[in-house]
């Protein structure tokens, strides 16, 4: 992808989103350690280019559906970090009012409709959302994010079959970070390559370097435009890596040190930054301004969350039924 063909505004926004995710997750780790965040949480550090590359190809009114590892998706699509942070801290001001927690972000106004904590659980729901768009003749597109591990669930299979059969405007983005918890894809996926699974649904499949935000953006854009034109779904396998452990607990050693190191050297933010500077489309100073802005936003988010009221039972109860 030719950097020069893209607006500076877009490039800076991509950089901003990636840094925002990185800092957000770093803060999460810190807050988790000191007991300020309860429950289960999964970090997105190392995978920022996927969420940002994909979401940059979307309109605001396009929808994404996300997973247990969803902070990055939410932030990339435009969720305000303070509401996300408030959710993680179980506050009434959170995106899910402190009821959902880390794994259930939602903010329909910016296009984050739903995240499921069940691996692959949001894939058929994404298909249903796309069906609604198609039936209403809206030109909106849905992105379904999921991991490599999710491609082994039956739900994945049923959903992709249906989406292709009905030519629905949905883009399936498999974030292949090579592991599902401790399980390497070689121990869980029998396909030669994950992308081969698209053949079973007669769906175009693309592999992309998930640490190169512009490469991701490019394939996503093509898939999104195809979906928007009524061309049906696309399957994207974005290869990337998570730097942290699966969640916030140490689960033991299951990845070679060299592997982790090699991927860290291919840090998606670093790669993007270097490229931007090399091509001369932005200045160091401009990037630094973004860095500063992000740090501020994160501090504000934490403050906002901490000052918000904790969600209690009576408050939560009112959301079970529409009455």
């Amino acid at each position: 992808m030719d950097v020069k063909s893209l607006s500076k505004e877009l490039l800076l926004d991509m950089y901003y989103k990636m840094v925002l995710i990185r800092r957000f997750e770093e803060k999460l780790v810190e807050l988790y350690r000191i007991g300020k965040i309860p429950g289960i949480a999964h970090g997105y550090i190392g995978e920022e280019a996927v969420a940002v590359g994909v979401c940059s190809a979307l309109r605001k009114d396009d929808y994404i559906l996300s997973t247990h590892r969803g902070h990055g998706h939410s932030l990339a699509k435009g969720v305000d970090p303070k509401y996300l942070m408030a959710e993680l801290m179980a506050r009434k001001t959170g995106v899910c009012k402190g009821i959902g927690g880390s794994m259930h972000s939602t903010e329909p106004e910016v296009g984050v409709i739903f995240s499921s904590a069940i691996v692959a659980g949001s894939i058929p729901i994404a298909v249903g959302v796309a069906l609604a768009f198609k039936m209403r003749r809206e030109d909106r597109v849905v992105v379904s994010f999921f991991g490599d591990g999710a491609t082994n669930r039956g739900t994945f299979h049923e959903a992709l079959n249906l989406a292709s059969l009905w030519k629905l405007p949905v883009v399936f983005v498999c974030e292949n970070n090579f592991y599902a918890i401790s399980t390497h894809i070689s121990k869980s996926i029998s396909a030669k390559e994950i992308v081969d699974r698209a053949i079973a649904y007669n769906m175009p499949g693309k592999v992309v370097d998930g640490n190169d935000v512009l490469a991701v953006y490019e394939v996503a854009l093509e898939a999104v435009e195809r979906a928007r034109r009524g061309g049906g779904p696309t399957f994207i396998e974005a290869r990337t890596y998570r730097w942290l452990d699966h969640g916030m607990y140490y689960l033991g050693k299951y990845r070679p040190d060299e592997e982790v190191l090699a991927w860290k050297q291919r840090c998606p933010i670093k790669l993007f930054k270097e490229r931007l500077l090399r091509e001369g489309v932005v200045t160091e100073q401009e990037l630094e301004m973004v860095d500063v802005r992000v740090l501020q936003e994160i501090e504000e988010a934490v403050k906002f969350a901490e000052e918000s009221e904790e969600t209690d039972l009576e408050f939560a109860k009112q959301f079970v039924y529409v009455r």
Binding site: Y63, G94, V95, C96, K97, G98, I99, G100, H104, T106, E107, P108, I113, F114, S116, I118, G121, I123, P124, I125, A126, V127, G128, V129, A130, L131, A132, F133, M135, R136, G154, T155, E158, A159, N161, L162, L165, A316, Q318, F319, V320, Y321, V322
Partner: protein, 329 residues
């Protein structure tokens, strides 16, 4: 008000059709529901009238059917999905249990999931253990969706229309054995509120709690007992969630005796909850233990001879009521 006799299947079809005419967001999806109008012919004619976009034949993918219904619902549509046999709900149980009833709650009320999942329990069809299940108790034990269990054409139509309009997810449980049973249904539009039990017959000596197909067994038994001087009140909850405790409790307070007849397994079935409620809320009024007549605690056997004995029946109900009344005179 003009009233005709139509079948339970026709009543359901009318409800679907009227709601589809009324609201273009309503659409149907499910296996074989279109081209051939469903294996039980409930949706017959709708494909011809509304076309393949709004009456969608699907692959055999229960998880995707329910998941797609959820997705369409949160995006503003009003899907009505058909799952051919209640047993097959388990093929889509992740979407059914882990998603459908929890999404509104998990999103702090930001999303609504106005989807209806229609299914049926294949009573008396001798279709063996994997095509005969009935587990409404589990659905009751899963907060977040409404559950309808209509016993008559009238109820089926009125409840289904309400379920489709309702903003909550609904599990609408039909009884295949009732599809051809006729009953009076007005031609004018009507709705039945969700959560209101129906006293299918008034009585004063004993309350019989029955739902779905068992309402008919209860009514028939009640008629025969009337002749013998025992006055039976038959309570049909119509919806299991919301559950109309009030009607039940009032009846039990009046009669002092409660017999439950249910088509699901006895242990941890719907009747267990009903008995527990009666004891919790009408303890002082009970003149005798609460009795549950239910399907045996075993999978459904194929053999019709065995299967007919597996479900509770009128004879057992009559005997139970007689001995209960005698013992607590």
């Amino acid at each position: 008000m003009v009233v005709r006799e139509i079948t339970y299947a026709e009543a359901i079809r009318e409800a679907l059709r009227e709601e589809m005419l009324r609201d273009e967001r309503v659409f149907l999806l499910g296996e074989d529901i279109g081209l051939i109008g469903g294996v039980f012919k409930v949706t017959q004619g709708l494909y011809e009238e509304f076309g393949p976009e709004r009456v969608r034949d699907t692959p055999i993918s229960e998880e995707a059917i329910i998941g797609a219904a959820i997705g369409a619902a949160i995006a503003g549509m009003r899907p009505v999905a058909e799952i051919m046999y209640m047993d097959f709900l388990m093929c889509g149980a992740d979407e059914l249990i882990n998603h459908l009833p929890k999404i509104r709650f998990m999103t702090g009320g930001k999303l609504k999931v106005p989807a209806v999942i229609r299914t049926q329990c294949a009573f008396y069809r001798y279709a063996a253990a994997q095509h005969s299940q009935c587990f409404p108790a589990f659905l009751m034990n899963t907060p977040g969706f409404y559950i309808e269990v209509p016993s008559t054409p009238y109820d089926a139509k009125g409840l289904l229309k309400s379920a489709i309009r309702d903003e909550n997810p609904d599990i609408f449980i039909e009884s295949a054995a009732l599809y051809r049973v006729r009953g009076p249904v007005p031609t004018e539009e009507y709705l039945i509120p969700l959560g209101v039990a129906d006293v299918k017959k008034e009585g004063k000596d004993v309350t019989v709690f029955a739902f779905s197909i068992m309402v008919h067994v209860a009514l028939s038994a009640a008629k025969k007992l009337e002749v013998e001087g025992i006055s039976v009140e038959v309570i049909d909850p119509r919806t299991l969630n919301p559950f109309d405790k009030k009607t039940l409790i009032e009846s039990v307070k009046k009669t002092g005796r409660l017999v439950i007849i249910e088509p699901d397994h006895k242990t941890a079935g719907v009747g267990a909850e009903v008995a527990a409620i009666a004891v919790e809320e009408a303890y002082e009024y009970l003149k005798a233990p609460v009795i549950r007549l239910a399907a045996e605690d075993m999978p459904a056997p194929f053999s019709p001879k065995a299967y007919n004995a597996f479900l509770p029946n009128e004879e057992k109900l009559i005997n139970t009521i007689k001995s209960l009344v005698k013992r607590s005179k």
